[in-house]
C-alpha cells in the first residue's frame, strides 16, 4: 500500500510546456500528414480499353453462366459456343507488348518481374506513403527523447498492474515508482495510438492521419498483403480465360443432369438442345397456379 500513497508534485510548467505541446504537436502532425498524403496520392492508374475488354469478357461469361435460364436454350447455346471459342483462342486477350509469346506455359509466367515498370508505380506509391508516416514519427520521437526524456507528466486516475510499467514509464528507470505515473515518451505513445478518434472528428472518416494503421500494414499484415498483391497486380488473364471457359462448359453439363433428374420423362424424346432448362419450361403451369386455375 505504500506505493499507492507516494506523492509526486509535478511542476505546473511541465503541464504547460511539455504535456500540452506534445499533444498539440501530435495533432498537428496528424493533420499535416493527412494533407500531404492527399497531395502525393497519385490517381488510380487508368486501364487501357483493351485491358478492360479482357476483363469484361469474363464478366460476360459469368453473367451468362449465372442467368442463362432467363433466355431460350437456343440463344444460350449459341452464346455459350461463341464465348467458349473466344475464351479458348484468346482473341479477347490484351496483346502483349514484349515478345513473350514463345514461352507459353513455362515457369517464367508464374513469377512476374518485380521491376516491371507497371508494378514499380504501385511500389513507389507505397514507399511514398510510408515515408510520410515514418519521417514525422521519427522526428517527434527524437525530439521528445532529446528534450523531455525522464519527465513524469501525468498520473492516471485508476490503478494498474505492474505489467503496464514497461508501457507507461518508458525512459524512467525507477523500479519503485507507481505504475500510474506516465512518462513523456509513453505520453507520446498514448497519443500516437489514441488520437484516432480526434482525427476522425477533425478530418472526417477516411483520413490518412492515423499513424497506427500504416504501422499495422508495415508489419505482419503488410508483408502478407504485399505477397498477395504482387501477383494480384497482374493476374494471368490467359489462365483466367481458360478457367472461365471450363466453367462455361460445365454450365451446360450441369443443366443436362438437372433436367434428367427433374423432368426426365418429359424430355426423353427431345433433342439435346431442348433439354436445357430455362424459365420458359412449364411456365404455363406456374402462371395458372398463380391465379389458382389449377
Amino acid at each position: 500500500m505504500k506505493l499507492s500513497e507516494q506523492n509526486l508534485f509535478l511542476d505546473s510548467a511541465m503541464r504547460d510546456w511539455v504535456l500540452i505541446p506534445i499533444l498539440i504537436v501530435m495533432i498537428l502532425v496528424g493533420v499535416l500528414r493527412h494533407n500531404v498524403t492527399k497531395l502525393i496520392d497519385s490517381k488510380p492508374k487508368k486501364l487501357s480499353s483493351l485491358a478492360l475488354r479482357e476483363q469484361r469478357i469474363l464478366t460476360r461469361a459469368g453473367a451468362l453462366r449465372f442467368n442463362h435460364f432467363v433466355i431460350p436454350p437456343s440463344s444460350f447455346l449459341s452464346r455459350r459456343s461463341f464465348l467458349i471459342q473466344k475464351l479458348s483462342d484468346g482473341s479477347y486477350l490484351q496483346p502483349k507488348s514484349g515478345g513473350g509469346d514463345e514461352k507459353e506455359g513455362g515457369s517464367d509466367q508464374s513469377t512476374p518481374n518485380p521491376f516491371d515498370p507497371a508494378n514499380m508505380d504501385g511500389m513507389m506509391d507505397q514507399m511514398k506513403k510510408s515515408m510520410v508516416m515514418m519521417v514525422p514519427q521519427t522526428v517527434i520521437m527524437g525530439w521528445i527523447n532529446f528534450f523531455f526524456s525522464g519527465f513524469v507528466l501525468i498520473k492516471l486516475p485508476f490503478p494498474l498492474t505492474l505489467r503496464f510499467k514497461l508501457m507507461l514509464q518508458r525512459g524512467i528507470d525507477t523500479p519503485d515508482l507507481d505504475v500510474t505515473w506516465v512518462s513523456s515518451l509513453s505520453w507520446y505513445f498514448l497519443n500516437l495510438f489514441g488520437l484516432n478518434a480526434i482525427y476522425r472528428l477533425l478530418l472526417g472518416d477516411d483520413n490518412a492521419a492515423d499513424g497506427t494503421r500504416d504501422m499495422a500494414s508495415m508489419s505482419g499484415a503488410g508483408a502478407v498483403n504485399a505477397m498477395q498483391s504482387a501477383p494480384g497486380q497482374a493476374p494471368d488473364f490467359k489462365k483466367l480465360h481458360l478457367a472461365e471457359r471450363d466453367n462455361l462448359e460445365l454450365a451446360g453439363l450441369d443443366l443436362l443432369e438437372l433436367s434428367d433428374n427433374g423432368g426426365g420423362k418429359k424430355n426423353q424424346t427431345s433433342s439435346l438442345d431442348a433439354k436445357n432448362r430455362w424459365v420458359g419450361d412449364g411456365i404455363e403451369d406456374r402462371v395458372l397456379a398463380l391465379y389458382g386455375e389449377i
Binding site: 487501357s48 480499353s49 469484361r56 460476360r60 432467363v70 411456365i283 404455363e284 395458372l288 398463380l290
Partner: protein, 330 residues
C-alpha cells in the same frame, strides 16, 4: 420585419437545397423547377452552404439550364466545374452537352472524340459520343443510326456490363426493323439484369413483332409470372378501396402486367388459330395448355374491362376489349 424576411429567405434557400439534393437521386427531369430553385440559391448566396455538394449542384443546375436554353447560367456552372476539375470526363461531358445544346453536334462530336483519345476508358464520354452520332442525320459523314450501331457495338465489346448501352442498341435495331439483332441485344440485357420485368416485356414484344410467336408466348408468360404476386394483392386491395381498376393500374400499377396480358392474348390467339403448324415444329407448346392460358387471359382482361367499379367513361376500353376478343372467338 427585416429579420423575419431574412429568416424566411434562409429557410427558402435551405428548402431549395434540400429539394435539389432529393431531386438528384430521382430520374425525373424537372428542368424548370431545378433552374428556378438553383437561381434562388445562387442569388441568395447559398453556394457557401453547399459545401461538398456544390459540384453536384452545379452539374445539376447546369444541365437543367441547358434544357431551358439559359446559356449564361449553363456556362457559369460548366466553367466553374471545369476550373475545379480540368481533367474530369464528367465535366467534359457537360461541355460537350453545352455544344450540343447550342446546336453544334459536329463540333461536340469532335470534342468528344478528342476527349476520348485522352481517356479511352471513360464510359460516360463514350456514351455521349454515341448519342451524338445517333442524333446526327444520315447525311452527316459520321452520323446516323448505322454509325451509331457500329459505335455501340464497339462500346459494348469493351464495356460489356452497361445495360443502358444494350438497351440503346436494341432500340436502334428495332427502329431499323432489324428485329433479330434487337432480340439478341435484349437477351444480353436480360442476362445482365434478370430481375427487370420491363425488359422481358420489351423482349416479348420484339419477339412477337419478329414473328417468333412461340418464344414471345413464353416471354409474356414470364412477365406475368414476374409481377404475379403484386397483381393478386392489388386486385384484392382495389375492391376494398373502391378504386377503379384503370386508375389503380395507372397509379401503382403492377409493372407491365396489363400490357403483357394484351400481348399474351394476341399470342394465344395466333397460336390457337395456327395450331397444326406450330405443334409439329415445337412439341413444347401444347395446345391444351395454350387453351387454358387463353381462358385465363380472357378472364383477366374481362375483369379489367367489366369490373363493377368502372364508370361509364371506359366505353373505349370495353370496345377495344370486345374487338380483340371477338377476333379470337371467330
Amino acid at each position: 420585419m427585416a429579420s423575419t424576411s431574412s429568416a424566411s429567405s434562409d429557410t427558402d434557400v435551405n428548402a431549395a437545397i434540400q429539394w435539389l439534393a432529393e431531386q438528384r437521386k430521382r430520374p425525373i427531369r424537372k428542368s424548370f423547377e431545378i433552374v428556378q430553385r438553383g437561381e434562388l440559391v445562387i442569388e441568395k448566396g447559398g453556394l457557401n452552404k453547399l459545401g461538398d455538394e456544390l459540384w453536384s449542384f452545379l452539374e445539376q443546375v447546369g444541365m437543367a439550364a441547358m434544357d431551358l436554353g439559359k446559356w449564361e447560367l449553363a456556362e457559369l456552372c460548366t466553367s466553374r466545374l471545369h476550373s475545379r476539375f480540368p481533367d474530369s470526363a464528367r465535366v467534359a461531358c457537360l461541355q460537350g452537352m453545352l455544344m450540343e445544346a447550342h446546336g453544334e453536334p459536329s463540333k461536340a462530336l469532335e470534342y468528344y472524340e478528342s476527349e476520348l483519345a485522352k481517356d479511352e476508358t471513360s464510359i460516360v464520354l463514350s456514351k455521349r459520343l454515341i448519342s451524338v452520332i445517333r442524333s446526327l442525320p444520315r447525311s452527316h459523314p459520321k452520323g446516323g443510326p448505322e454509325k451509331a450501331i457500329d459505335a455501340l457495338v464497339k462500346h459494348l465489346d469493351t464495356f460489356y456490363n452497361d445495360p443502358e448501352g444494350w438497351q440503346e442498341l436494341a432500340e436502334i435495331y428495332a427502329e431499323l426493323g432489324m428485329y433479330n439483332q434487337s432480340i439478341f441485344a435484349l437477351e444480353e440485357l436480360m442476362l445482365l439484369t434478370p430481375q427487370n420485368s420491363f425488359y422481358v416485356l420489351q423482349y416479348a414484344e420484339t419477339l412477337y413483332t419478329a414473328g417468333e410467336v412461340d418464344k414471345a408466348y413464353k416471354a409474356y408468360l414470364r412477365v406475368l409470372e414476374m409481377c404475379g404476386e403484386v397483381t393478386k394483392s392489388q386486385l384484392r386491395s382495389k375492391s376494398k378501396h373502391q378504386k377503379t381498376q384503370v386508375e389503380a393500374l395507372e397509379q401503382d400499377g403492377p409493372g407491365p402486367w396489363l400490357r403483357a396480358l394484351w400481348g399474351l392474348k394476341l399470342c394465344t390467339t395466333h397460336l390457337l388459330s395456327s395450331k397444326p403448324s406450330t405443334s409439329t415444329s415445337k412439341e413444347e407448346i401444347r395446345a391444351e395448355k395454350v387453351e387454358s392460358i387463353d381462358e385465363l387471359v380472357t378472364k383477366l382482361l374481362l375483369q379489367t374491362a367489366y369490373s363493377p367499379d368502372l364508370d361509364a367513361s371506359t366505353k373505349d376500353l370495353r370496345d377495344s376489349v370486345r374487338n380483340v376478343l371477338s377476333v379470337s372467338s371467330t
